[in-house]
């Protein structure tokens, strides 16, 4: 009865530990614990701009998102699996060769994800938070009963996220993108007609509502939101998503012609095609980069009002530099070095080409920053740009040195993530403090450039020495 469940747990463990080693992956929850602990220690500083309720709101939506991402990876990760592990497949896809129904396998799959992520993410997160509450004034979070409720409601949020994505993927599998879009549009329309489409809608997440006011109805509603979509998905389960084979005209040669004799023309052209044709297309730049930036600007503007010594524009340039490094992750997501290892290329050639594409993509945040600076404080334009460019370059150099061509995988290694955080966090704190002495402090950050170049050189040599393990 539990054989498949146990095998799936083992599979998940081995999949990660084969990449980072047993201890490397086992350290990950420890790191989540430590990270949450240290971040929670500075929470009192932010109490002036965000309330306890808003902090709790953020946590619940964070775990809703983690649940959605965990489900999406599990359901749609076969292509990724094949590229990382060769012709491997998950047990979730084995119903064709085992005398077990697809429904039974996927019910186990859902159970496995819940148990696994509870142990690796939710539990260390809440434990770190609870420990920090012992040392600082934790406001409404101090009581043990509140923390236990938090553990329950964050788990519920995670489960709502995973069952929602499971349900949406079932709708998609049966009816395609148009139905999915109609479903979203109908939900928004219903909320609008009922007069509930406003800021308060965010507070209607039943797991979060239950955290605020422990009512049986909210707990029941959370259960319904987990069980009904999961049950519907299992009843109407369809594994093979319809795949219409699309045709594309040759954009690669056109782009190469535009780029002329530029050394990395072929790679930059390929990267831009990857970004354009992958799931979400160029829209993901807006949703995963530009929209969060607007949110950051709003938050920093609020912070600027509370602590006038902090310059909103300078802090924004700093955050922009940090967030921009996530674009390196996008660029490295679509291929693996094994796809090129038989060509006359070194790993460092690939990294250099990605770095070129990264620098070109940095024109987007650079434009946003220039426009904001010109509008808000033209005199800060030069130091802000300088700060953004040096931080972005330093961040990507650290990322390259530590993770090479696989940041989204290698950062899951607890040790690597710890080194990454230690290389970045103190520097950011120092920048925040220095920024109080005026925006031209940014000149000090020029010192980061030679260090970043040194790291890059070291990183190139390190990844050239590293033998290709298919990723």
């Amino acid at each position: 009865m539990f054989d498949i469940f146990k095998s799936m747990i083992k599979e998940e463990w081995r999949m990660h530990s084969s990449l980072f080693g047993h201890s490397g992956f086992a350290l990950f929850p420890v790191f989540i614990f430590l990270f949450t602990f240290f971040v929670s220690l500075v929470l009192p500083v932010f109490r002036d701009i965000v309330t306890d309720v808003q902090i709790a709101l953020g946590m619940h939506y964070l775990f809703l998102l983690v649940g959605a991402m965990a489900g999406a990876f599990g359901l749609m990760g076969r292509e990724l699996m094949n590229r990382r592990f060769g012709q491997a497949s998950l047990i979730a896809y084995s119903s064709r060769v085992l005398p077990v129904s697809e429904r039974f396998i996927f019910a186990n799959f859902l159970g496995k994800d819940i148990v696994y992520y509870f142990i690796f993410y939710i539990l260390p997160f809440v434990t770190g938070f609870a420990l920090a509450a012992e040392f600082v004034s934790a406001g409404n979070f101090g009581a043990l009963s509140t923390l236990m409720t938090l553990l329950l409601t964050l788990s519920l949020s995670f489960m709502i996220g995973i069952s929602a994505i499971f349900f949406l993927s079932t709708v998609y599998a049966h009816s395609g993108k148009i139905s999915l879009f109609c479903l979203f549009a109908a939900s928004f329309l219903l909320l609008h007609i009922s007069g509930n489409l406003n800021q308060g809608t965010l507070y209607d997440l039943p797991s979060f509502s239950f955290f605020l006011v422990q009512s049986e109805n909210q707990l029941l509603l959370s259960g319904v939101l987990i069980l009904v979509p999961s049950a519907l998905s299992l009843i109407f389960l369809k594994i093979d998503f319809p795949q219409a084979q699309k045709s594309f005209s040759n954009s690669f040669s056109k782009l190469c012609r535009y780029l002329g004799s530029y050394r990395y023309a072929a790679f930059v052209a390929k990267d831009s095609i990857d970004l354009k044709r992958s799931e979400g297309g160029l829209g993901k730049i807006i949703f995963s980069f530009v929209l969060p930036l607007l949110l950051v600007w709003t938050l920093l503007s609020a912070l600027g009002k509370v602590i006038p010594a902090l310059s909103t524009l300078t802090l924004f340039a700093l955050v922009l530099g940090v967030l921009s490094s996530s674009m390196y992750n996008w660029l490295t997501e679509y291929d693996i070095f094994a796809s090129y290892a038989f060509l006359p290329l070194k790993a460092s050639d690939m990294i250099k080409s990605k770095l070129n594409s990264y620098l070109i993509l940095n024109l987007i945040p650079l434009t946003i920053l220039t426009m904001l600076a010109l509008k808000k404080d033209p005199s800060s334009l030069v130091p802000s740009l300088l700060l953004f460019l040096t931080i972005s370059f330093y961040m990507v150099s650290v990322l390259i040195y530590l993770t090479g061509l696989s940041p989204s995988i290698n950062l899951y290694n607890g040790k690597t993530f710890a080194i990454y955080t230690l290389s970045v966090m103190p520097l950011l704190m120092l920048n925040i403090i220095l920024s109080m002495f005026g925006s031209y402090y940014a000149l000090v950050d020029l010192l980061l450039v030679p260090f970043a170049l040194y790291l890059l050189g070291k990183g190139f040599r390190k990844w050239d020495r590293n033998e290709c393990r298919c990723f």
Binding site: E79, R83, G86, Q87, Q243, Q245, K246, S247, F248, S249, N250, S251, F252, S253, C256, A265, A266, K270, I273, D274, R277, S278, Y334, D335, I336, A338, S339, Y340, A341, F342, L343, P344, L345, K346, E467, C468, C470
Partner: protein
């Protein structure tokens, strides 16, 4: 064309390749034969500088692979074991990409010739991720011969190809060697080697246990499958009949 001496590769306690000596002359169609996991792919990866040996020396085209692996990969055409062209390029874009990496000029017509040869012109504009495994293999074949290398190293050349394409590829490889090219293939399918190879090497658990020509007197009048099983059983220390005969009934397996 290929000179290998004392080549070994260990992963911890496991010896994937153990003290292999090999010499392949220009104009040979050499087949490295062996069961799954015997070390064939590891040897290919070392020959092409993708991984470093634990000990031993390798020369390809007279170039020391350890000193200049990039030059070796510039000169040689390679088809890896797994067909992994980048997902979001179309088949045509992928060949153009490889041509650009290989610094070729006026490559469009050469690419078109390969689409025609393998009869998949209708898939030119499809994304690599949407191609069938057979079509991907055709694409990998095309990329390896795009720059007309003098030496091609191919891991499992006929994998995923249908019989019509298999015949076409076999004829192409024979013709290629007749025109002065050199081919190194690895396979675990004996029939392929028997049909197209001029020379063979048999590898078992990382050890090269036989090298020779197909027209060697040792092989004359012998069933090649028997010869192969005999060699393997001698190394394994069991009777070749055990390897050859299917188990009698399911009870023999459980």
């Amino acid at each position: 064309m290929i000179e290998v001496k004392g080549l070994s590769k260990s992963y911890g306690q496991t010896k994937a390749v153990d003290d292999v000596d090999l010499s392949i002359e220009k104009g040979e169609l050499f087949g490295l034969l062996g069961p799954n996991g015997s070390g064939k792919t590891t040897i290919i990866k070392m020959l092409t500088g993708q991984i470093k040996p634990t000990s031993g020396t390798l020369k390809v085209h007279g170039i020391n692979v350890l000193e200049d692996p990039l030059r070796v990969r510039e000169l040689v055409g390679i088809i890896p074991e797994q067909e992994t062209p980048p997902s979001f390029l179309t088949a045509e874009e992928y060949l153009h990409f490889v041509a650009k990496v290989r610094k070729m000029e006026h490559y469009e017509k050469v690419c078109d010739k390969w689409f025609e040869f393998f009869d998949f012109e209708d898939q030119k504009t499809s994304l690599c991720k949407d191609l069938s495994r057979g079509t991907r293999q055709k694409l990998m074949f095309a990329q390896a011969f795009l720059h007309e290398p003098e030496l091609a190293i191919i891991d499992e050349p006929l994998i995923n190809l249908d019989p019509v394409m298999q015949r076409k590829v076999k004829d192409f490889l024979r013709g290629y060697v007749e025109d002065g090219g050199t081919i190194f293939i690895s396979t675990h399918i004996l029939e392929i080697a028997k049909e197209i190879c001029t020379n063979i090497g048999i590898i078992y658990r990382g050890k090269l246990i036989h090298t020779g020509r197909f027209d060697d007197p040792e092989l004359q009048g012998k069933n090649f499958e028997d010869f192969f099983l005999e060699l393997v059983s001698r190394w394994k220390g069991v009777s070749k009949e055990i390897l050859k005969e299917p188990p009698k009934g399911i009870s023999a397996l459980v």
